[in-house]
């Protein structure tokens, strides 16, 4: 099976949502700011539950927040 990577648009969406801070987003989805930083830098792939919570904060379908990139 080809290796897949998950990229996301969290950083852009935060700014589009009234320049939401990383801490604000972390508080709303129930994780630490370090995890939001790791997500934005592409160093951590979130669980499905966390991905859904993030998408819900931005009021967007999950596939417009996260992309599956097949290598």
């Amino acid at each position: 099976m080809a290796k897949a990577e998950i990229s996301n648009h969290i950083r852009g969406l935060r700014f589009a949502h009234g320049e939401m801070t990383q801490q604000e987003l972390a508080d709303r989805v129930g994780c630490t700011r370090q995890t939001i930083i790791a997500l934005e830098q592409g160093r951590y792939v979130p669980s499905l539950a966390l991905a859904f919570r993030i998408a819900r904060v931005f009021e967007r379908p999950i596939e417009t927040v996260f992309n599956l990139e097949e290598a």
Binding site: T21, Q22, Q23, A26, D27, G30, C31, T32, R33, Q34, T35, I36, I37, A38, E40, Q41, R43, Y44, P46, S47, L50
Partner: protein, 151 residues
């Protein structure tokens, strides 16, 4: 710094000091050969390990999370890191014990027996190595999957 990182740093300090104390008691004053018969050194290593556990549990209490008082400090990324660190630590500790046993066997196979003091070293060493390895791997994985971002 997250609670996980803080605790890992404290663990490195506490068990690093304990490792120095145990090594000094075990290898100093006659070395491993006479350790099993030296009550003073046996008590000294037990005191050092006791200090390690005492300081460790005190640190856990002082850095505990209090719902409603302290913000969320541990999340799914921390749990993922802890699980990976646990697996890596298991492999490292098992390999270390195995290698130590093989080296002892090679060194003493001619004599037909190993000084009993080495059993203390293996036991204490495994405990200390477990804490040190887990904390080190946790810090490395945190560094690799984290970073410092803007607010």
């Amino acid at each position: 710094m997250t609670q996980t990182e803080k605790r890992s740093v404290f663990i490195l300090v506490i068990w690093g000091l304990a490792a120095c104390g145990v090594a000094a008691a075990f290898f100093g004053g006659g070395g491993p050969r006479s350790f099993g018969a030296d009550q003073g050194r046996i008590v000294a290593t037990a005191v050092v390990l006791g200090f390690g556990f005492g300081a460790f549990f005190l640190m856990l209490y002082l850095t505990r999370s209090r719902p409603g008082v302290t913000p969320l400090v541990v999340d799914e990324r921390d749990e993922t890191i802890a699980a990976r660190a646990g697996v890596i630590t298991l492999v490292v500790v098992l390999s270390s014990v195995y290698l130590t046993c093989i080296v002892l066997w090679e060194l003493h196979r001619g004599a037909g027996c190993v000084p009993v003091g080495w059993l203390w070293f293996l036991g204490y060493g495994a405990v200390i190595c477990t804490y040190l390895c887990h904390a080190t791997v946790t810090l490395v994985l945190n560094h690799r999957t984290g970073g410092r971002g803007q607010g």
